[in-house]
């Protein structure tokens, strides 16, 4: 053993080996940068092309010059869209729906996660796993029965749900609540038990424990869950496409696709501007809260 180490120490030509290793590493770094740039081009081409097209007028697009360059940049697309009442309505509907869904999601999932993480009761473990499994049931399996359910509900109560934007407030939480509850369970479970035991000793009740200890301590998780709920409800496409049709009830993704694409006359400058503005809120949130966003993304699979 010692002989071996001595031999290794004595085998002086370690220096060239070290040199080659660092050279290897330098080459690995260069290749990494090279491929990273290639992949970044692949990943960023569509959003950049959206931006390029959004600055073009219809005349320049139909002139079929170099599509990757803007010769006469103009903001007419932006001005037209932001002054058109239909687009503003789509944007407003999307904003209202997303904000309400975030609130509903938090009101349902935070207490439930607290109860499931800390207050063991009959069936709580099964329920926690069940919550996770419902997250795996996709919207594409549920939209047809939900459509029929709302129609039946209309026959029974005369309350019209189909083709009203607030039907989305009922169905979006099914997409957001299971995942948010699941990651909040993970965050709550990671809080040391001594903390709430000490609070119980001091005579705090459960509401105080939740609001004074758990929510402040698990705030990063709460922010991650909020971001998740917002981006999911902002991006959801199938439910609004199936459940809403009249232009004043549409949310942004469906609105752009159904109203800006009129027949065969594709006004691509405006479509790209609309899509870019529609992608802006999630992108802005991501730009400022990237770490929370990524924490929420990875928490779902690594926690629990």
């Amino acid at each position: 053993m010692t002989a071996a180490t001595v031999v290794m120490d004595k085998s002086a030509p370690t220096r060239p080996r070290y040199g080659s290793m660092s050279r290897d590493r330098r080459w690995a770094l260069r290749w990494s940068y090279f491929f990273l740039v290639l992949f970044a081009i692949f990943f960023l081409t569509p959003p950049l092309y959206m931006f390029i097209t959004s600055l073009k007028t219809s005349a320049e697009i139909s002139a079929a010059t170099n599509p990757w360059w803007v010769y006469h940049p103009s903001l007419t697309n932006y001005i037209e869209l932001l002054t058109s009442s239909t687009y503003i309505i789509f944007f407003r509907n999307s904003a209202i729906v997303s904000i309400f869904v975030v609130c509903i999601t938090m009101i349902i999932s935070v207490p439930a996660a607290f109860a499931l993480a800390r207050m063991k009761f009959w069936g709580s473990a099964v329920l926690a796993t069940g919550v996770f499994l419902t997250y795996l049931i996709p919207d594409t399996l549920l939209f047809i029965p939900l459509f029929k359910m709302f129609a039946v509900f209309n026959e029974w109560t005369d309350i019209q749900l189909i083709n009203k934007w607030w039907v989305l407030l009922i169905v979006y939480p099914t997409l957001t609540v299971p995942f948010c509850t699941w990651i909040m369970i993970g965050y709550f479970a990671s809080i040391p038990k001594e903390l709430d035991e000490a609070a119980l000793m001091d005579g705090a009740n459960y509401r105080q424990i939740l609001f004074k200890i758990f929510i402040p301590v698990a705030l990063p998780g709460l922010i991650a869950a909020t971001i998740f709920a917002f981006t999911v409800s902002w991006a959801q496409f199938l439910y609004p496409l199936a459940f809403t049709t009249s232009p004043d009830q549409l949310v942004l993704p469906v609105g752009i696709i159904t109203t800006l694409i009129k027949g065969d006359v594709f006004n691509w400058g405006q479509i790209m501007t609309g899509a870019l503005l529609g992608a802006a809120p999630p992108l802005i949130i991501y730009a400022f809260l990237m770490d929370y966003y990524i924490a929420g993304l990875t928490a779902g699979a690594t926690k629990g």
């Binding site: 690995a28 081409t45 399996l141 029965p145 496409f237 992608a279 990875t298 699979a301």
Partner: protein, 311 residues
């Protein structure tokens, strides 16, 4: 006398305390139940009930007045389009997941190689496709693939190649749909694998290097075993999401040309909502269930196992 009084008090107080404790415990579990009640109601009424209702709907005739048993399914089995949709769904999901996982794995290594202070920026740039709502980004792809103004074809023509009918030709349309799905989903794998790579202790690599392992052996014997769990769970997750994908296919091709790119979700939408045949649409969407159930079982097993390891 005093002693007796004290013992009296003791005797009185202990049972009282015990019932108090019991009541508190009862109260605790009922409070807990009340706190989870909205969640249970939501899942029960809007997830589980519709899932079973879909099974019921699938056994009705088109006007939904008569029970027809399995004839919706036999009708589907006799249609060529159905088998085309089955094949396309499987090809779509498998190819997309494999390429997403591969690209995610490779790019995660590139990002991991970069000095730590620059990793954040690269990660930030490379996750952008995942952040943009897929309906919006698919519009950009649709415009990049436009039959007469395609920006890709412009490059191809300038390189002296012939233009490609990206969404017009059946095979190219299938390729395009998968390409967009890979573009959208690969960043998710990248982030997950990057997080997993960071959790592999450096000592293991150093030990492997001292033993003379080359880069391939390091990946095969150190990285992959350490990341096995996270790879399994991301692949299962992504299989479910990709199999149930709707947005990309609907916006890019809406199933065309001649139904060649339909997957279960878009075909169910076409038949159920646009075609007005709700039972048939429900039957089609139910075919997603077996593969989802298989994935769910594997994921559940993984969660159980990890729960056992933790405790």
């Amino acid at each position: 006398m005093v002693d007796a009084a004290i013992s009296d008090v003791r005797e009185l107080s202990t049972p009282a305390k015990r019932t108090g404790m019991r009541r508190m415990l009862q109260r605790k579990s009922s409070i807990a139940f009340l706190m989870t009640l909205p969640l249970i109601l939501l899942i029960g009424l809007l997830v589980l009930y519709p899932a079973f209702y879909a099974v019921h709907l699938a056994t009705l005739n088109k006007s939904m007045q008569r029970f027809v048993g399995l004839s919706n399914f036999t009708f589907l089995f006799n249609r060529e389009t159905f088998w085309m949709v089955v094949r396309q769904s499987c090809i779509f999901a498998l190819t997309a997941v494999i390429f997403k996982a591969l690209i995610g794995f490779v790019v995660a290594h590139f990002v991991h190689n970069v000095p730590a202070n620059k990793q954040r920026r690269w990660r930030g740039i490379l996750l952008i496709p995942w952040v943009i709502p897929p309906a919006m980004s698919t519009l950009a792809w649709l415009w990049l693939f436009d039959p007469s103004y395609s920006a890709f074809n412009w490059i191809l023509v300038h390189l002296g190649l012939s233009p490609v009918a990206w969404t017009g030709d059946a095979y190219w349309a299938r390729f395009s749909v998968i390409l967009i799905n890979v573009w959208f989903g690969a960043p998710f794998f990248l982030i997950m694998y990057l997080a997993a790579l960071k959790s592999v202790p450096d000592q293991l690599y150093e030990a492997a290097q001292i033993d003379g392992a080359n880069w391939w052996q390091r990946i095969w014997f150190v990285t992959l075993p350490m990341m096995r769990n996270i790879i399994a769970i991301t692949v299962l997750f992504s299989t479910i999401v990709t199999f149930a994908n709707f947005d990309i296919v609907q916006v890019l091709t809406a199933g065309g040309p001649i139904d060649k790119t339909h997957v279960f979700a878009t075909w169910a939408f076409r038949l159920g909502i646009q075609g007005g045949d709700i039972p048939l649409g429900a039957s089609v969407s139910l075919f997603m269930f077996p593969i989802l159930a298989v994935c769910a079982i594997f994921i559940l097993r993984d969660i159980r196992r990890r729960g056992n390891e933790a405790s």
